[in-house]
């Protein structure tokens, strides 16, 4: 099996599973308990918090555990909006955010908030000057993702942070796809970020666990109320095994990050080069400023779900932004926002490389993909073999 869908989720590293197991077995105590058997859980939670803080260049007190990237995004967006309602009602974000940011924004619109979806360019990039121009007196939050999950585009986070900081607007970034690909330093270069979301299952940790970094002094409401966990900011008995696993996972994912990213990038680039030889295909997203493992192509005359399923039959796991695959009428909101016409977005294929991949995987995909594309084009009513390639 060739797994090229690391942006969807990753396998869990062996050491991570081993870190989790004791908390599924003997160390089952409730971290809130006072007696010894709860203490191991408590310690595991605090150790993980330190590991996350270290990996992000943050303080442990600024790390809050959640049930995943989606909850982190919801909390950051809605928690800030409600906490700062008296100061204003304007939020700036971009149309290529994950739904975990977009839908909370849509929800806030129904509650009287004003949201600007700042257009991005054909590569998905935000222009910091345009962002600055969009800031109003009543802007209470800017949310721009670190890197896009579909097309891999890396946003100019430092510049955006600077603009936000200069105008005193809190800045949230969804870094779910960034962890393990870039070094973050929230006390250093990333010091203008006020909130940052992450999710363990994107960096070889378990599903259903994530965190929100909240810089000290940030105004934000609790989102899940109840017990006194997480300094009363996020209630609920802790998913101790998940938290411990995430701690281990981030430690592993951020050790030697440059070398790791370089290795993935190399494989990715060879794959990209090979795929570009297929006629009538175009790369979506930025040619250079993209996640090291990300490739997103559109193959004209082909529908993406079919392509994905044929690849699956050949043992290759991939992803698509086609409307057919999602059961909705419109193809990927990200491809639409960067101006890819619907009929071409229909034929999109995302391949995301990671630790599960080897050079042999690249060879195999380069062998299989052109055949599958050919086969699907042969049955496409739109395709005329005489057409010329337009790269």
């Amino acid at each position: 099996l060739v797994y090229m869908d690391h942006a969807a989720t990753t396998f869990i590293k062996q050491e991570v599973v081993e870190t989790m197991l004791p908390f599924l077995k003997d160390h089952f105590g409730n971290p809130s308990s006072l007696y010894s058997i709860g203490r191991e859980g408590k310690e595991a939670v605090e150790t993980a918090r330190e590991k996350l803080a270290k990996a992000l260049g943050a303080s442990p007190e600024e790390i809050y555990f959640t049930s995943g990237g989606t909850e982190s995004d919801n909390w950051a967006v809605k928690g800030t909006a409600f906490a700062r309602r008296k100061k204003g009602k304007h939020i700036i974000t971009i149309p290529i955010e994950h739904h975990a940011v977009l839908y909370p924004c849509k929800y806030l619109e129904t509650k009287g908030f004003d949201v600007t979806y700042l257009p991005v360019d054909e590569y998905g990039l935000v222009d910091p000057a345009e962002l600055e121009a969009a800031i109003r007196e009543d802007t209470i939050l800017i949310s721009v993702m670190y890197a896009n999950n579909e097309i891999g585009t890396i946003e100019p986070i430092l510049e955006i942070g600077k603009v936000a900081g200069e105008h005193g607007v809190p800045f949230h970034t969804d870094a779910v796809q960034a962890i393990g690909n870039f070094s973050l330093d929230l006390k250093g270069k990333d010091r203008d970020v006020n909130m940052l979301s992450l999710s363990a299952h994107k960096f070889y940790g378990p599903k259903g666990i994530g965190a929100l970094y909240i810089r000290e002094g940030t105004e934000i409401d609790s989102y899940i109320h109840g017990g006194a966990q997480e300094k009363r900011k996020r209630a609920g008995t802790e998913n101790v095994a998940g938290i411990a696993g995430m701690g281990k996972a981030i430690e592993l994912a951020t050790a030697n990050i440059e070398k790791h990213a370089e290795k993935i990038r190399k494989m990715r680039d060879r794959l990209r080069k090979g795929i570009m030889e297929i006629p009538h295909c175009r790369l979506n997203g930025h040619p250079e400023r993209r996640l090291p493992g990300n490739l997103n192509f559109s193959f004209e005359y082909i529908e993406g779900e079919s392509l994905l399923l044929m690849l699956d039959q050949m043992g290759i796991c991939s992803s698509t932004g086609s409307a057919c695959s999602s059961g909705s009428l419109d193809p990927s909101h990200v491809l639409s926002a960067i101006g890819v016409p619907p009929e071409i977005a229909q034929g999109s294929l995302r391949l995301t490389l990671g630790d599960a991949n080897t050079e042999e995987d690249v060879d195999y995909v380069l062998e299989v993909l052109p055949q599958v594309v050919e086969k699907l084009r042969a049955i496409s009513p739109f395709y005329k073999p005489s057409d010329v390639c337009e790269k």
């Binding site: 005359y301 044929m310 039959q313 057919c324 695959s325 009929e343 229909q346 049955i379």
Partner: protein, 129 residues
Amino acid sequence: VYNKKVMDHFMNPRNVGEIENADGIGEAGNPHGDQMKIFLKIRDNRIEDVKFKTFGCAAAIASSSMATEMIKGKTLEEAWELTDEAVAEALEGLPPGKLECSVVSREATHRAINDYRKKQGLEPLEEKT
């Protein structure tokens, strides 16, 4: 997601291609931008040969393949009776939300038959919905 039968018709679609100088050609699409084109060779009121091309999901391709199998060799009257449900049933079921993907095969078939009728100077039949 899809059963074995659907996957078989998707991976090895029957009757793919075009017929030169076809007696009837029909085309149908849906709001996703999916499209099917069907070509009929008709002799003595019977569908002697049929070919198709489809742009769409696996359900659309498998339905096209199955629909062409079902009408091949049939009289035009018999072929007109093709329904979405019959195609889905012959495929042993389609996942929820994918039932409408078989609609294009039925529509394209009807349009091809009407195209043929027109060429013969006959009134087109009224398409069912």
